[in-house]
Symmetry: C2
Subunit: 449 residues, 2 copies
């Protein structure tokens, strides 16, 4: 008899949710996690005065029902991302304030962005979420990069620039890296572009009191001792009736396994027999994005007193997007800057201090000299995280979805796949990770019954 | 004191050449190979009557001086790929014979192919082999797929089709998968398109008597007991003065390591400390091509008696390209068919027998009913080879070279990188593997002195 019904690999949101749902259905589970913590790409940090700041995934927004329901179940509260006052845009050397989601840019630039968004939002719903490769134009869209589409359909250059900035803020990758088909799928999966880009009414609308990692911590708490930390899975061997899962700390037999680690990292696990060729080649083709989160901590969110939201957009890197990431209630001010895609790659080899210095320069450009002198700077480069391989998620280059898409969720014998990359709705988001975990639990429970 | 000066990971052509050159320079080496054989992607098979057939890389051609010199050193002989008589093209349901490198196609199709080749051959030399990302148009060319370029510059559709076929025969990947910049680099690296495509005067000109793996076997022989088989490297730990290399069979300390495995597969090795972010993310972005070699063995090469070379090109898969792969001298006839790119992916899950059956159908279409009844069929699907991950080599999707290119050959401390993917000349070929091995040996010897 097997030690457990299901071995879950990875204690991120998908793995914990899968374990939670399987436990609830009466299955015995064991969760094997490589790191000495749960949460995966969702992680709380603390400033020196004990304020919690989110170092990984952090926001939720309308349409993310699964995460909302889980938060309610776990008794976690959310609060709105600070969004009162004016935003700031730094463009072509000029700094301007504006209100709402549309930056103050030259009208022909705004018109160009609007027209492109309209076109893309008409194409995205034509990509079936369960099978993007079945879109009528799948071959055409998967044969080109999003950059190619932008160059062909977007004018003037300023509009292209803004669009690329939006893309890199969503994918932590460049328009040149992405299959147009994958981009459209992803946009459809997350409720189209306004939903992906916006704070009010969009995917950046709210945050978790106490930080988003509390979701993972609370799920792990409820699961208790079946979550094993510091124990990367080394191999999974499939026998006729069960699996043997070997991790650094323990070996166990299981009737099924759910692997939730980022697809690229699943290559570190030795599968015996080896996985089918399409799965093996798919995971060679799912690279992770490149992002550095920089947070500067101040005595107070001084920009608020000047009528600013803390949100800024800039055409100059390395930080091109900022948010007010202060804790709820009175207390310190936290300015959050994103270094994404090419900017993150260019700084991947730089010392943290240098990344912080450059980020402060960007903060000061948008919010004045006070921004240059924080009490503390926190730098989190996800490309350096050995057990994530990058953030926010995996993206697909041209040709991958149409050639290898069906291998993404198809189980290999007793091995099932989950994780936000396997989600059909909110792919790439915390909500997608939870949906994927719940969905795989349903399928595994069925397979075992 | 370290056990050896240099630990070489992988006993393919690059690893063996690196070990050979380092040994010659007086360094002590140990070669750790995962498989129970040497040669990597170069492998001899035998038919049931003992005839040697090449299951992996097999041809050499003009300009491949390094492999030619090594063959001479090792006393290996080459012979011309059989190329006497007419070739066959199956196009739009018609079968035609022709002589030479240019198939008998409608003139406007031939003109379209010729014009495209001229354009591409003018662009390729503008890509610097040592630093493709420094090409004047690097961003533009790396922002699009080769497929995008074909759609924009090639007419009529038939010419696009022939070009895509040529591309997939070189990369075992589709034009939609490839960065235009990477394609141009690769073409430049191998002496432009005629060189890559052709038999006479091209990279398919000659074969090795006794099969190409003899190169690897002879080098391994000369190295003797320092080549350890069946011993995949599990981890490499860098200390201040030396490395600790742990493989399945043995652990050793070394002053330097040369890792020659396909970049994607290097993710299976645990590096401590982890590799820099740019290297870690690069190897997530170097997928391997998809190819199945099918060989049918007949009593004699019956097509020769009909004045045919055995070479065919077809617009219908799964086999779209064939060659006469008979051993030199009198003896059985071997027909070699390639299933490449999308065709190989579509058949990745099929049983060998089914792949063979479909290939024989293609052989019969081009060479008549006799081709349908061979004495034996040999199927080699490289996507299923756990220690290759695919063949012929890695390719780069858009955005990778310009973002991560410099990480390809830059050493990480005492760890150096080699393999045909790291070659600047004949990248992707056996010759490139040898050049890369020799070059890394030079650099390591320098670093150790």
């Amino acid at each position: 008899m097997a030690d457990v019904d299901v071995a879950v690999v990875g204690a991120g949101l998908a793995g914990l949710m899968a374990a939670r749902a399987l436990s609830a259905s009466g299955a015995s589970v064991r969760v094997l996690e490589a790191r000495d913590r749960v949460g995966g790409r969702v992680l709380n940090g603390t400033t020196s005065d004990g304020t919690v700041v989110e170092l990984g995934g952090q926001w939720i927004g309308p349409g993310q029902d699964r995460i909302e329901a889980l938060a309610a179940e776990l008794g976690l509260e959310t609060f709105p991302t600070y969004n009162e006052g004016d935003n700031v845009v730094s463009y072509a050397g000029r700094l301007r304030r504006y209100r709402g989601a549309i930056p103050k840019l030259p009208p022909h630039v705004l018109a160009g962005v609007g027209a492109a968004q309209l076109l893309l939002d008409r194409m995205a719903p034509k990509v079936p979420l369960e099978a993007p490769w079945e879109a009528a134009k799948a071959r055409d869209w998967d044969g080109q990069t999003l950059e190619t589409w932008i160059r062909r359909h977007v004018w003037p250059e300023g509009a292209r620039h803004m669009l690329r900035l939006g893309v890199s803020s969503v994918f932590a990758a460049e328009a040149a890296d992405l299959s147009l088909l994958h981009f459209l799928f992803y946009s459809h999966s997350g409720g189209l572009l306004d939903s992906l880009f916006n704070v009010a009414g969009g995917a950046q609308e709210r945050r978790f009191v106490g930080g988003s990692q509390r979701l993972a911590l609370a799920m792990a708490d409820a699961l208790g001792s079946c979550v094993v930390l510091g124990s990367p899975v080394l191999s999974i061997t499939q026998g006729r009736d069960e699996l043997k899962v070997v991790s650094r700390r323990e070996s166990l037999s299981a009737r099924a396994a759910v692997v939730t680690v980022p697809p690229a990292l699943s290559q570190r696990i030795e599968f015996d027999p080896p996985l089918p060729a399409d799965r093996a080649q798919l995971v060679q083709r799912m690279p992770m994005g490149s992002v550095i989160k920089v947070m500067a901590v101040y005595d107070s969110p001084f920009w608020r007193h000047e009528g600013l939201t803390g949100q800024s957009t800039s055409d100059t890197g390395p930080v091109r997007i900022t948010f007010d990431n202060s804790p709820p209630g009175p207390g310190p001010g936290v300015m959050l800057g994103f270094v994404e895609g090419q900017d993150a790659r260019a700084l991947a080899g730089a010392p943290e201090q240098e990344v912080g210095r450059q980020a402060l320069g960007c903060f000061a450009r948008c919010f004045g000299p006070r921004a240059a002198s924080p009490a503390e700077v926190i730098v989190q480069d996800w490309s350096k995280e050995h057990w994530s391989g990058g953030c926010y998620g995996a993206f697909l280059a041209p040709g991958v979805l149409t050639s290898f898409g069906p291998a993404l969720r198809r189980p290999c014998g007793r091995i099932h796949w989950a994780g936000t990359e396997a989600a059909t709705r909110w792919c790439g988001y915390m909500d997608g990770a939870l949906r994927s975990g719940e969905e795989v639990a349903r399928r595994v429970a069925q397979a075992l019954s």
